[in-house]
């Protein structure tokens, strides 16, 4: 699919937030890799970076993107509500994985990380395939939303 579905030169919301997803993925992969090398300190650093990046991404969506989409479409109980529930589930899973890492149970961490990755990527698929394109469509006349997201996730 084209990076920008509307053939304009400006970046789309979808494009920008996909980049941020990939940014989180990189920290996640680094944490897993450090654990596999039994590098506890490296794992703690990378997982801390992952956790911070992920929570910031959730917050930007919940405080900026979703309210703008809801105000524009009037859909309050639709896709954004589902995304909020999933954010909550993932916050819980990140904490569980974090506890495993802090207690030094690396085996347990890798097991938790596996399901966290799948949860996270299924969530990302829904956002990238469905919600973000809808946001780009609905919020085409509101460039301020993207600017705000960019400053929040800078």
């Amino acid at each position: 699919m084209p990076a920008n579905p509307y053939w304009s030169l400006a970046m789309s919301i979808r494009e920008f937030l996909i980049d941020d997803h990939r940014h989180c993925d990189d920290f996640f992969a680094a944490a897993e890799q450090a654990v596999e090398r039994s590098d506890a300190a490296g794992a703690a650093t990378a997982f801390g970076q992952f956790r911070a990046a992920l929570l910031r991404h959730f917050a930007a969506e919940e405080q900026t993107l979703f309210p703008a989409f809801e105000a524009r479409t009037g859909m309050r109980m639709g896709p954004t509500q589902m995304m909020r529930i999933e954010h909550e589930q993932m916050r819980g899973l990140v904490e569980v994985a974090d506890e495993a890492l802090t207690s030094g149970d690396l085996e347990e961490f890798l097991g938790q990380a596996e399901s966290l990755l799948i949860m996270m990527q299924q969530h990302n698929m829904k956002e990238e395939n469905v919600l973000y394109p809808m946001c780009d469509q609905q919020l085409a006349g509101e460039p301020a939303v993207l600017e705000r997201l960019q400053s929040e996730l800078a």
């Binding site: 699919m1 990189d26 589902m82 799948i118 990527q121």
Partner: protein, 436 residues
């Protein structure tokens, strides 16, 4: 699918996944009973029965079950009445695959008629359910395009298959050899390859953390292949041999391009930790590439075109090498994840839920994969030299099927035990019991 209330109950997809491996085992059993004779020609009754045990009993079954499960995530559409829909597809497909194998073996028109009815029913229900979902997709992504093309190809495959069944069951007059070639091509190149491609666009970059597929490829590959396949069919049916041959070559190159693109992305994966399902993807794509190149060369070389072994290699590589490997790998992600997810949702805060790796350890996956790989290599060897390799290949085929089934059933057993123990700890409401 992650909000629990919108998730189909675990039994809906799982019924496809636990019965499918039995069909690999049955194909192995059939090859053991028939011995090297099964490889005398791809047209022997036993060969046709074994092929359909793999393609209908295993491949179509898992592909449709997984598709129903994935549609809400990838396309954003929920399939209505998941439990009923799953049963309406699963039961006739399972019985239909068995009846079709039996029909090939005993040659009795009554069996073909029964198999046709059952398979028509099962595939019909699946096509309706998935089509409805795909046409309501709110956003048309590259994956949606590929899935629509794959579904169209499945419709053609089933249509051609039913008319071939009509030939055996009711004595329809039709050019059996050409129709069989078309049936095979639409099933393997159209339905299977395009479905795997549509799913790969999503799962390869996301679960292996690789760069995305090139965007032009994602949008263009499936429609182009579907159009080429249609052109090739018309030319082959009309007897324009040279034009059909050239179109076929372009199709083979297209398939090879998909395999190469995927293999290249897998070398760029940023998720560096060991993942036993990665070997499944690599084997699958290497088989697809080899099969495509062989298909590309065969029409231009008299030696290859005349060798009966080549026909077999052209069946084994795409069916057992490409499709079975990638499905095997996907099952190892889907089944433990779903079991974990359902446990998590039902037992949250009441009991500790085992992780995916506790539900199905990497070591168990690796061991089964080695048997799979042995089966693939032995089958390829048996195609070239049946007297020596048929029995070892048949045993390995049966073994990998049984082992896959045991691994997946193991997840289900742990799921049941943990759920019962967990629910026994605290009082349960009716609502929660029903969701289990």
């Amino acid at each position: 699918m992650l909000s629990f209330d919108q998730v189909p109950p675990l039994a809906a997809p799982l019924r496809f996944f636990v019965t499918a491996p039995l069909f690999i085992a049955l194909a192995g059993l059939l090859a053991v009973i028939d011995g090297p004779a099964i490889l005398a020609s791809r047209w022997t009754p036993a060969a046709l029965a074994a092929t359909h045990l793999l393609t209908v009993g295993f491949m179509a079954q898992v592909m449709l079950g997984a598709l129903l499960q994935m549609l809400p995530v990838v396309v954003g559409v929920v399939v209505p009445r998941p439990r009923l829909t799953a049963a309406l597809i699963h039961i006739p497909l399972t019985l239909g695959a068995l009846a079709l194998a039996a029909a090939f073996l005993n040659g009795n028109p009554i069996w073909f008629q029964g198999a046709l009815g059952l398979l028509g029913l099962g595939f019909g229900a699946a096509l309706i359910a998935v089509h409805l979902a795909l046409w309501r997709a709110p956003v048309v992504s590259g994956t949606v395009i590929a899935l629509r093309c794959a579904l169209g190809a499945l419709m053609v495959t089933v249509g051609l298959g039913l008319s071939l069944g009509g030939f055996f069951g009711w004595g329809f007059t039709l050019p059996v050899v050409v129709v069989t070639h078309l049936h095979t091509a639409w099933g393997l190149v159209g339905w299977t390859t395009l479905l795997v491609a549509g799913v790969a666009y999503q799962v390869v970059p996301m679960f292996q953390i690789t760069p995305p597929y090139p965007s032009a490829f994602v949008r263009g590959f499936a429609p182009l292949m579907a159009v080429l396949l249609a052109a090739w069919s018309a030319l082959a049916f009309g007897g324009w041999e040279m034009a059909a041959r050239l179109t076929g070559a372009v199709l083979a190159l297209g398939v090879a391009l998909f395999a190469v693109t995927t293999l290249r992305l897998l070398t760029q994966r940023r998720r560096k930790i060991g993942d036993p399902t990665l070997a499944c993807w690599r084997t699958s794509m290497a088989s697809l590439l080899t099969g495509a190149l062989l298909w590309l060369l065969t029409p231009w070389s008299q030696t290859l075109a005349r060798a009966p072994q080549v026909e077999w290699l052209l069946g084994i590589l795409p069916i057992f090498g490409f499709a079975v490997a990638v499905i095997n790998g996907m099952l190892y992600k889907i089944v433990p994840f779903l079991a974990w997810f359902h446990l998590q949702a039902q037992l949250l805060g009441r009991a500790k839920v085992p992780t995916m790796k506790q539900l199905l350890p990497d070591a168990a996956i690796r061991r089964q994969f080695w048997v799979y790989l042995a089966a693939l290599l032995l089958l390829l060897a048996a195609a070239v030299h049946p007297p020596v390799f048929t029995y070892p290949a048949a045993l390995a085929l049966g073994g990998t099927g049984v082992w896959l089934g045991v691994n997946l059933m193991g997840v289900w057993w742990i799921y049941r035990r943990v759920l019962q123990d967990g629910l026994a700890v605290a009082p349960v409401t009716d609502n929660e019991v029903m969701r289990g």
